[in-house]
Structures are given as C-alpha cells and as structure tokens.
Symmetry: C2
Subunit: 412 residues, 2 copies
C-alpha cells in the first residue's frame, strides 16, 4: 500500500467528484512524516533539538539587530522564526471565522499559502494535468493559461459569459455540456480583467448550470477581489458559498482567496485555500494540498501571517477597510463618469479594480502609444480591449487618462 492510498481512498469515499478530477500528481501526493512533522510533535518540549533554526533555547528568537529594529509591536518570534506548515493555526481559524459569515460551517480549515497565485498553483497541481480538462473564463487573468496549460499541461477550454454588450450565464451551460471528462472549472467574480460581478439572479443561474454538469467538477472560485463590489443588487460573498449544498459525487467547491487585495496587503503574500468539505474528506484534501505546499514553498512568511492575524483581530477592521473601499469606489465613479464624458462605452463592469474598453485598433499598438505619453495601460489582444486598473489611478487624473485613451482609440 502506497502512503497516498489512504488519502485517495478517503477522497473517493467522501468526495467522488474530487477523486474523478484528481491529476496523476494529485494522486501521488501525501505529506511526508519527516522533520517538519516530528518538529510539530515536539512543540512545547522542555528541550527541543528538532528544528533547524537558531533560538535562545526557550523558543525565543535570536535575530540580527538590524532586522529586529525594523519591527515593532509584534513578538520577534512571530517575525523571524518558522511558522507552522500550512500556516499558523490561529490565523487559519481567524480566516475561517471570516468565511463562515457567508459560507456557513460546511467548510474546511483554510490553509495559508504564499499568496493567491500559490493557492491557485496548489489546486492546479492537484486537479489539472494532461488527463483532466480545465475550463477557464474568457477573458481571464493571463497567468491562468500559464498555470494550467503551460505548467500543468492540461487541455484548456474556455467559456465567455461576458462580452462588450452584457453577461450571459448560458455561455457556461454550453461549455459545460460539451465536456466529456472530469473538469476543473474556474470561476472568478469579481473578475480580472473585466471587473464584472454577476447579479444575484445571474449567480443563481450559474449555480443551476453547475448543478446540471454532465461531468464531475472541481469548481475553484478565485475570490481575490471578494467584497470589492461597487453597485447594488450584485452577488455578495462568493460563488463558493452557493455551491456548498451540491452533491459531493458531482461537485467539490474550492475557494482561493487572500489578504492580497481584501486587506490591501499586496506584497504580503498571504493567500488561503479552503475546501467545501468537512471531517475525514476535508482532512484528506487538506493533507493533499499541504503536501504540494511542502514541495513548493514549505512554510509561508511568518511576519506577513502575523500582520494579517493582527489586522483580522483589530476591532475596527471593517472601518479601516471601509475607508480604502470608499476611495476605490470614488475612483470607479470617476472612471465611469470620465468614460461617459468622452463617449467611450466600456464592457459592463461594477466591481474589483478594472474596466475593459473595446479597441478597434490593435490594443498593443494603443498601449505603446499611450506609454510613450507616460500613460500605462494593459493590452488584452484576445479581447480586443484595453484594461484600465483604476485602483492605482487617483480620481483627479482619471479625466486625463480617459481623454488620452479616447484620442488613441479613435481611428486614424
């Protein structure tokens, strides 16, 4: 019996859909009972000679004074010593409490990852490969193809519910009905690069379509921009929340999110992976993911974890976030008004950091022309569009941005 057999059996029993979608790599993974596991057992030992780090002998940190001087208000141990594999337990529990508010408690204990990309990459390792199809939104964050097609060699298909004229959930139905093999479906709302979040009715329709899938699914929600929604009547929380009641024989929901955008901690590199699973099924899925993480990054940055936990524990976290969210909303409105004033019609957008503007001219040419004038935008050639990230543009210069864009989009 291989060490991975025990995990695979538990997953087959409790999450048949996950079992059907698992890649060869996913099947092979198990957490090695090596030093890290032995060190975990020895936590709190009177004399601890297990772990390869310098301490004062009592678990206290011995750090370079130049580093210690840059930290304030946190125990030095929380910054310079190793954190537990998979993340600090108190941080993981704090993030779970945050998710439970909208998801309820049928979810696993989140694993902390080295940023959201690391969460996506971990799920790609487990559920994407030459034998598993991947269904991506189109347009999508460019790194998805790199993660799933180039790195994992998975056959990638797309669904395109959003276009310049509106959002059609039926596009997902058509794409799913064409699938003949177990599939990893990626949902991303609020979306990058489109900045679109479905209405509640559209979200309900997406859930029905997923429930009708002809093939077993792992549905990964990339919730990087969760909570950044600027209009009323839109999906609040995550699509993950709405998939948790589905039959595990048909669907495993997986949520990837993090502090990167939600807590404005872009450089902190703290993401989370949470399964729509409990009990023995959750334990097996968690060990699979932890096993991938052990082989990619091992522990995640201690200081970043401490800072995120500290923020989550802050009684006025919501108020602190509200200030920054209202700044973002002001930029969203400035962009909307600006685009209207110069007569440009963007794709539908209502959330996150972005808007797409259609370009009849080659978007890459437009991008280069604007760059020569000191204005940076992103070209999305596959959507014939320019992506504007209004999150990093002050509202006072939004008019200048859209005027320049309008000038270069005009036929010449």
């Amino acid at each position: 019996m291989l060490p991975s057999d025990r995990l695979n059996a538990a997953i087959a029993t409790h999450h048949p859909a996950a079992s059907a979608c698992m890649s060869d790599l996913g099947r092979a993974m198990y957490y090695p009972q090596g030093v890290a596991a032995q060190a975990q057992e020895a936590k709190g030992a009177r004399i601890n000679a297990t772990i390869g780090q310098l301490t004062d002998g009592q678990g206290g940190a011995l750090a370079l004074p130049s580093m210690a001087a840059r930290l304030v208000g946190l125990p030095l141990e929380d910054a310079v010593l190793y954190a537990a594999q998979g993340g600090r337990r108190d941080l993981r529990e704090a993030w779970r409490r945050r998710l439970v508010r909208t998801a309820g408690d049928r979810i696993s204990l989140p694993l902390a990852t080295a940023g959201i990309t690391h969460g996506l990459s971990t799920i790609a390792d487990l559920f994407a490969g030459p034998d598993t199809d991947v269904l991506l939104p189109d347009p999508a964050w460019g790194n998805y193809r790199h993660l799933f097609a180039t790195r994992r060699a998975a056959p990638v298909y797309t669904y395109a519910p959003l276009g310049p004229d509106g959002f059609d959930p039926g596009a997902l139905r058509v794409a799913l009905q064409a699938r003949a093999r177990p599939t990893l479906l990626v949902l991303n709302f609020p979306s990058n690069p489109s900045g679109y979040t479905p209405t509640v009715a559209e979200a309900d329709e997406l859930v029905e379509i997923i429930a009708d899938s002809p093939v077993p699914l792992v549905v990964m929600t990339d919730d990087a921009y969760q909570g950044m929604v600027w209009e009323d009547g839109l999906l609040e929380g995550s699509m993950f929340d709405r998939l948790l009641h589905l039959d595990p024989a048909r669907v495993l929901p997986v949520k990837v999110d993090g502090a990167t955008k939600e807590l404005f901690f872009f450089g902190g590199r703290v993401g989370f992976v949470t399964f729509g699973a409990t009990g023995a099924g959750a334990a097996a899925l968690e060990e699979k993911a932890l096993s991938v993480m052990r082989a990619t990054t091992s522990a995640t940055t201690s200081f970043s974890q401490a800072l995120v936990l500290d923020a989550l524990s802050s009684p006025d976290l919501d108020a602190q976030c509200a200030t920054l969210l209202s700044e973002l909303r002001a930029r969203y409105r400035a962009l909307r008004d600006g685009l209207r004033s110069v007569g440009l019609t963007p794709w539908p957008y209502n959330s996150a950091f972005f808007a797409l503007v259609h370009s009849d001219r080659d978007p890459e040419v437009v991008r280069r022309e604007l760059l020569a004038e000191g204005i940076g935008v992103v070209a999305i050639p596959e959507a014939s569009a320019i992506r504007l990230s209004y999150a990093s543009v002050d509202a006072s210069v939004m008019g200048e941005l859209v005027s320049a864009l309008a000038a270069h989009l005009a036929p010449r």
Copy 2:
C-alpha cells in the same frame, strides 16, 4: 515556433549540459508577456493604470492603519506593495555582490525565491522528471525525496560519502559512473542532517569526480548553511564556486541559498537561485526559472526582501552575524564535549546546526521515549540515527540532552 523554442535554443547553444538535463516541464516553460511584463514596462509612467493594486496614484501605498503601525523605518511601499517578479533588482544585485566574493563574476544575477525550498522546487521543475535521473546524498534532508521523487516523479538514486566512520568522496565517483542518463546531482555542504562539511582536499576530489562524470550534469548546490563551519581546514564558500570553470557541455552549476539560515531569517522566506552562467545563456536560464516562479508563487514577500536588503546594506552585518555565529559555535562545542563525556560517538560533524548519533535501537522508538520526557529530537530511521539540532538548544542544557539520549540509546 513555440515561445519556448527561443529559450531552448539559447540553452542548447550556451549550456548543452543544462539542455540535456532539462525536464519536459523545463522545456515547455517561458515567461508569459502578460500583465506583469506590461506593468514592468510602465514603471515610472505619469499615470499608471496597469497593475491591480491600490496606490495613492503616485505609486505610494494606501494600507490598513493597523498594518502600517507595525512597521518602522522602511517605506510603506516596500512592505505592502508588490515587489518585482523574481525579486527586487537592488536586492538581487546585493546578493550577487555577496556571492562574487568567493565565486568570482561568472555567475548570473540571483533570482529571489519564496524561501530556499522554493528555489529547490524551481530547479526540480526545470531539471527533474520521469526522463531525468536525480542523484541525492544519503542521508539527506527528508524533503528532497518529496521534492524530486514524489512531486516530480523523477527516478532517484543516492550516493553516501558519509558514514559513522568518515567521509569518502569516492562514493560519489561510484554513483556517477553508474549513471547512463543526464542527471541532476544535488550537493549539500554543510549537510543536513549530518552537519558535515568536507575538508579542502575532499572538496577538490569531489570536483575532479564531477569533472569525470560520464553523463551531462546539472549540479545543484544546496547551500542553506553556507558559512556555518566550526572547524579549520574545511571548505569555505560553496562547491558552486569550484565548479564554475567546468565545460558547460558537461556541467551546469546552480546555487540555491538564502537568508533563511545565513541571515537567521527563518520565517522571512527569502531564498535565491543563481546559475553558473553569463550572457545569453544566463538570460535564458533565468527566464526559465522566472517562468516557474510566476506559476507557483508569483511575487515574493516585499517586506522580507526589504529587510534582507537592509541587513545586507548594514555596514556592521559581518559583526552582527559573528555574534550569532559564535553562539552557535559555543553550542557545537558544548554538544561535542557533552557527547564525549557520556561516551557517545557521533558521525563526523563540523558545521551547520546538526549532529547524527547512531542508534542500535529503532530511532523512532528512541524519539518517542525522549519526547515523553519533554525532549524533542529527530529520528532518521534510514541512517539508524538520531539527529540533534543543537542550534535550538542552549549550551547550558546540552549536558542534560546528551545524558537523556545516552540513557535511551543504551540497549535495554
């Protein structure tokens, strides 16, 4: 022509050994010219609407006050905004200056990784797979098998130059001469778990053996514990330094190291990958590695990078390190004296954080017995040994540690 063909052609021309050793995944990788690349081009633009992060519109950070309050003496931007893919250029240049002291300048610009494991994992992705053999030291850090065999499905072979009675470089010759396919050879000095560093003469012999390899090699030096050498006459610097003159048709040296141990920043998760390569060959290898990193973690923690750069820029860095190194040396001596006084003969050890003590009894049983007494050690069953990490044990209790160990190692 595939986007990866350009890189593969450059590597085949300048580093035939690397080309022969590359995995299928390594061959497929190239850096996608997506948002990250476009954002890099737009750095310094007057209006920058490329990147998905919240700024004040001038590139300044807008952070949660609770997080900002924990940081002192560093620009907020250096902590909470994204760092460049592959690491801050100033940090990479500072680490290169550190390496050049012993390696000379025939090396690439180091890439910053999310800890040393991430560096090892990146090299495993590029050079280990079902079609490439991997040659590991035995005993070795347990995670090597997880990284190379379980995750990358590479056939793993071992060489065992060290035993309870001494170090024999000839063991590497025997293992290399048995290779029939391109091979990724892993060197790890100072070694985990043995704490052994070869003498200068032994190191010279290893270089000769590597030069005589019958198959092309990528030689990856895991230099996590570089500089932590407690006796005279041992290899200083890295084996990497001594391999740089070898014919690129036969050998590509790759160095993986980091701030984790060298700067006592265990939880910081800053590692580096450096190739024994320059010019177009280095550029192609660097892009391959960057491409793996983009698909595993994307950017690396900004704050950790800032702290490492800050430490490297400190005029008294060597003096700060010397204080901690002398503490480690004192623990090494306390362990050595303690083992002698209880009549235990460890494997040869002279460096890093560790010593191995042979156990006639099942090491796992000994470990559990000691744990029940509040003493944590690591069992290495494959070497019939107990690993002691004296780095985390104060010198004053070393006597108690070795007495307890002696009592449990005795036949009963």
